[in-house]
Symmetry: C2
Subunit: 416 residues, 2 copies
């Protein structure tokens, strides 16, 4: 008898039949005596369709008006899901973001949630209703509709769970949990029963796109136990079984019972590496280079600056591959002369592979094992970056799968 | 330099190109110095698509949730139109019903507007913006989204024009005005430059479906000059020409300059006639019969009760043809025995033809001319109903076109 928040993604809401399945699953939880709040996404394809219409009219859509348009996808979902629950004999009520209200800042298309009013939700839960809240959206203090950006429904669900101090936030999705690595690359990748928020954060930001990074951060900040599980199972499987399935993201480090050093191998294929060669080593040069890149809305991930020799240094960083050409143009046509660099060297065929684990903190030798394993496979490491619970390397794209498989095996991830 | 309200229907908003045309037309008015509020409908087909989704889930959709779903159609329209206006170099801002707010009662799917807050609209108009308001929708006092029912965007537009005391409410549609009769039936039907609200009301409710009856009533009650005109003309035609086009519905009876007796011939093909035979002529019988029909949500139009003979009378009324079978079943299986009627006789192949004109008030002989004309064509009149500005007859369906053409000619409607 707990209060739980269910989140269903676009694929889970992708057709009338799937919406009916979601309703059956939710009804099962309600029948067992739980209070259930559901946060659905728009039906799959709908948000893209709406953005497409907007862009046909205005190639760079006005952000406020775009939110006006795209927020309708989730509004349709909540109404339909509410009806589907009524057909399951449940009392249900849907709310848009502004009706709750979910209050956000004024940053249209990438708004941040500031607060969630729980009164209306609790009132309806206490009246025995399933409460359905539109994900991805909120209202700013000036009364405009805002959206949270791509994948924002995850964030909505976790924020609602935090506001209601829910026992658990269940993120139903088209995968059945978080794996030690991508099973498409390593066939004996293993589903993790638990993962800490910090590990999940690294996994999410490194391209294991199960959960939006912001939602994981939020879950960590508010200590919301969050479970990633499959919406593709039979909705009528026993609740006890379903409640234990998937991967639980936990804020208790002690709960990391398995006591492994490394929890997973994450990777990101589409990276590009750029080196600004022969940069005068004086204050402000790095910020000049990165400032120009950031102004062009290009995200920089790893950054390395070599020891300077004779007052000159090389400055290397990675950018998402789709932004590579733009970044190279910017540097060659603008920055190079400005800062007096000798050359700009780029490589758009690199990938990033990372070993992640909270256990790394207390174990020495993870780095040497990682580098040794790659070396044994003849894989050259182009860049290295480390954090408390993560070691990332940039390697030639063609070795990526080989590296992931070798590391997965070296850290014994398949055996447990 | 006036404040005008433009309303565009689903066909006018039916594609990206058409939305761009709407924006060009609105920009033309704004460029000429007018303040413009635009009330668009959902893109054509969208409301039906949304209702279809809802009905797939819940054959008799919950009304509150249906409003949640269907109101998104207009929300998408306002966002897109706002962007299209920005592309025309205009400042524009869109509002949903709840943002204005347009306050309604709580009758979901058929709500009535109670008040419209003009503050936000005026503030934005005064700032030089085109203001775009979602038609068809509002918010109830309990904070739920409501919709006004089919064709509700006409009503929204007129209500906004009334609240703002607009100089004119321009209803842009896929016809270029109100005609003396349907041009598909009478090829030399003529477009009326002006029509009074009372005449328009009779035209609208009698099946000349240019404007929703409610919106005409509202325009009449609040003395909103309302013009029906085409959205299919070149958006760049001179404003002076466009501003005089279409048909102006006016509340000034004196403005009916043309001084004709009859303004138009309206008709409604799909009628059905039912006679309850041998009804005991005692108080309460009529209300018993019509009450049962009304309870089944069947609208009754014309009603005739004959002089009673030997304490018995016949009671005849018309219903929309799609409701005929239901009405007959109800009467035969339930009412007939209850009230002791002798028989129930029905005819589902009748049509209604009406002559309408404010000039009828001061002219005798309209009825005799109408009946004489029909008689000359050998058309038998089955029922007659009259009001101050209208005479309607029920005739055999197969004579409908003939009757309309004969009356159109007899009253000289093509000659003016």
């Amino acid at each position: 008898m707990a209060l739980v928040v269910h989140k269903y993604g676009g694929t889970s809401m992708g057709s009338i039949d799937r919406i009916k399945n979601v309703a059956r699953r939710v009804a099962k939880w309600h029948n067992a005596g739980h209070q259930v709040v559901v946060v659905p996404s728009a039906m799959s394809g709908e948000t893209n369709r709406l953005i497409g219409l907007a862009k046909e009219i205005m190639p760079e859509p006005d952000q406020r008006e775009l939110d006006m348009v795209t927020s309708t996808g989730e509004q349709v979902s909540v109404g339909l899901l509410s009806m589907a629950l009524m057909q399951q004999g449940k009392q249900a009520v849907s709310f848009t973001g502004w009706q709750v209200p979910v209050k956000t800042d004024t940053s249209h298309t990438k708004a941040r949630i500031q607060s969630i009013d729980e009164e209306k939700i609790r009132e309806n839960l206490d009246a025995g209703k399933v409460v359905i809240i539109a994900g991805f959206q909120g209202i700013s203090e000036d009364g405009n509709i805002t959206t949270l950006g791509r994948g924002g429904s995850d964030t909505s669900a976790v924020a609602v769970a935090a506001a209601l101090k829910a026992a658990e936030c269940l993120i139903y999705t088209d995968v059945d949990g978080v794996y030690t690595t991508d099973p498409r690359v390593v066939t004996d990748a293993r589903r993790l029963k638990k993962i800490t928020f910090e590990e999940m954060l690294e996994m999410a930001s490194l391209g294991s796109k199960v959960l939006q990074t912001r939602s994981v951060e939020l879950a960590g900040n508010y200590h919301v136990p969050t479970r990633v599980l499959s919406s593709m199972t039979d909705p009528d499987i026993p609740l006890e079984e379903e409640a234990k399935s998937g991967t639980l993201i936990t804020f208790e480090e002690d709960s990391h019972m398995e006591q492994t050093v490394i929890s997973g191998i994450a990777f990101s294929r589409d990276e590009a590496k750029i080196t600004v060669v022969g940069v005068p080593d004086r204050p402000g040069i790095a910020s000049r280079i990165l400032g120009a890149i950031a102004s062009a809305n290009i995200e920089v991930d790893m950054i390395i600056q070599n020891q300077s020799i004779n007052g000159k240094t090389d400055f290397t960083f990675t950018v998402p591959r789709p932004d590579y050409n733009r970044a190279m143009d910017l540097l060659n046509n603008q920055i190079k002369a400005e800062i007096g660099a000798t050359d700009i060297i780029g490589d758009a065929k690199v990938s990033k592979v990372s070993a992640i684990g909270i256990g790394m903190r207390s174990h020495v030798g993870v780095a040497s094992k990682m580098f040794g394993t790659l070396s044994e496979e003849g894989i050259n490491i182009l860049m290295i970056s480390t954090s408390e619970i993560k070691i990332s390397v940039i390697i030639d794209e063609k070795y990526m799968e080989l590296a992931v498989r070798a590391l997965h095996k070296a850290f014994g991830l398949e055996q447990m």
